[in-house]
Amino acid sequence: MVNHHGARDAALQAGRRRQFARAARVLASVLVLVLSPVARAAAAGERFIVMASTTSTEQSGLFAHLLPAFQQASGIQVRVVAVGTGQAIEMARRGDADLAFVHDTAAEEKFVADGFATRRQNVMYNDFVLIGPADDPAGVAGRDVVAALQKIAASGAPFLSRGDKSGTHAAELRLWKRAGLEPSGLKAPAYRECGCGMGPALNMASTLNAYVLADRGTWLAFRNRAALKILVQGDSSLFNQYGVLVVNPAKHPHVKNADAQAFADWVVSAPGQAAIASYKVGGEPLFFPNARP
């Protein structure tokens, strides 16, 4: 007779399935165990809000100066996610941030009009400057930025645009329009778009010996200047206004509206405005508070 392995082999199948089910459960609990300490490290019972802001503001170093003061006063940690203005507003629109701190008034007003914030508030301003090679091949040095752009276009000297829907990019396009020039009419090598932040744009401009529009804050904190310098400043059309937008809880109920509003209120009030004014690089203030009282 054959050995009686039949029943055993059948039981084997069932046993194996139980073993695998057990293993799967163990796996799942290991996964949870692994993920939770990492998540807990983040949450840790801290009170925080997520603020979408721009790379230029972050890179100027303002937040490292400003936010600790706010945290001291309120106990709220402000987590800054620094992306381009376009992306920052998109983040706020999706409800991934509790508030936005950007510098594109037109886009901010649209945000409010679409109901994603109840209002926008002025916080501070600085100015844009036209940076270019020290030898100034297009001869633009002076106080008139519109004329400078026309000279650059005429001379065919290279110009670098951020091309990333940032506040700076929006300002640049407005200036080209005022100069009566269509930037799309200009092309490489004369007009290049890098689709990048202010810092990388300055890096590229210094390599290419190109003209570039920058905000004063980033320029002052920038360390790789090579042969670049400020060529045009002080023109009133170079005025760069920063605003704060608190995301409307009616659109995104989960946002931390009270804490976000606390920050907005603080930054337009006396202590916040004073903190902004006291931020200097090389003895020079980068931003000028101008919140309406």
Binding site: R16, F20, L31, A41, Q59
Partner: protein, 237 residues
């Protein structure tokens, strides 16, 4: 070149000074990538081994998909995970965006295809020899896959280390889903990206050297752990 020399000096000073902020960033990088590799190993090793061993309809398609995913850029993975975790997305209510957990998730997605594809190659080679013997002993596909994983454990360690290298060196995914928030989701690579964009190239390069030094120490420690065992095996032959 000046920048490069500067950065070596700066890297040494950074390592010697033991700046707490730098330490926090290094530790977070290690935690995130190690967690991602652990998850990646659990999923990828099994997936790869099973794909090598099992026979079913659509298997070739799955292998093709796996090999294609190897070319997935980290920034695309970051974007996909961002859309998944965004408030407007399906998992938005979990509130994981801009936390280290999101970074672990994104890096796991990145390394799973890598681990699975490499494991599949390894196990397939072993399977050519092992298929008949294991089947003759009564092992089904899943059991055979696990036995071969145990059988090839030394080579698979290298696979996991490769995945760890890929994870800790990537910047696109963690930048998108982490947001590079100081003290919370800033890791070595995003810090390097930030310093580069600020124009502080020497510091950026120095941080890069610190990253290499840290990973180098880990690899050294691992080979020291394996050394006595290798010597023993060499003596027996």
């Amino acid at each position: 070149m000046q920048t490069v020399f500067e950065s070596f000096e700066l890297a040494l000073r950074l390592l010697a000074a033991g700046d707490p902020q730098l330490l926090q960033i290094v530790v977070l990088s290690l935690k995130v990538s190690a967690s991602a590799c652990l998850i990646g190993a659990l999923v990828g090793l099994l997936l790869g081994a099973w794909l090598a061993v099992a026979r079913f309809a659509g298997q070739q398609a799955l292998v093709w998909a796996l090999n294609t995913l190897l070319a997935l850029p980290s920034v695309v993975v970051g974007l996909l995970v961002y859309l998944l975790l965004s408030r407007a997305g399906p998992l938005g209510s979990w509130g994981l965006l801009f936390t280290p957990s999101a970074m672990v998730l994104a890096q796991s997605v990145l390394v799973i295809p890598l681990i699975a594809a490499l494991t599949r190659r390894l196990v397939l080679t072993a399977w050519r020899e092992a298929a008949d013997p294991l089947r003759s002993l009564g092992a089904g596909p899943l059991t055979a896959a696990i036995l071969l994983l145990v059988h090839e454990r030394r080579a698979l360690l290298t696979v996991v280390l490769t995945a760890f290298g890929r994870a800790i060196a990537e910047v696109g995914a963690v930048m998108m889903v982490g947001g590079n928030v100081l003290g919370v989701t800033r890791v070595m690579t995003t810090a390097i990206a930030l310093e580069t964009s600020k124009g502080d190239l020497a510091l950026a390069l120095a941080l890069g050297l610190v990253l290499l030094a840290v990973v180098g120490c880990i690899n050294a420690a691992l080979s020291l752990l394996q050394a006595p065992h290798s010597a023993e095996r060499a003596a027996l032959v």
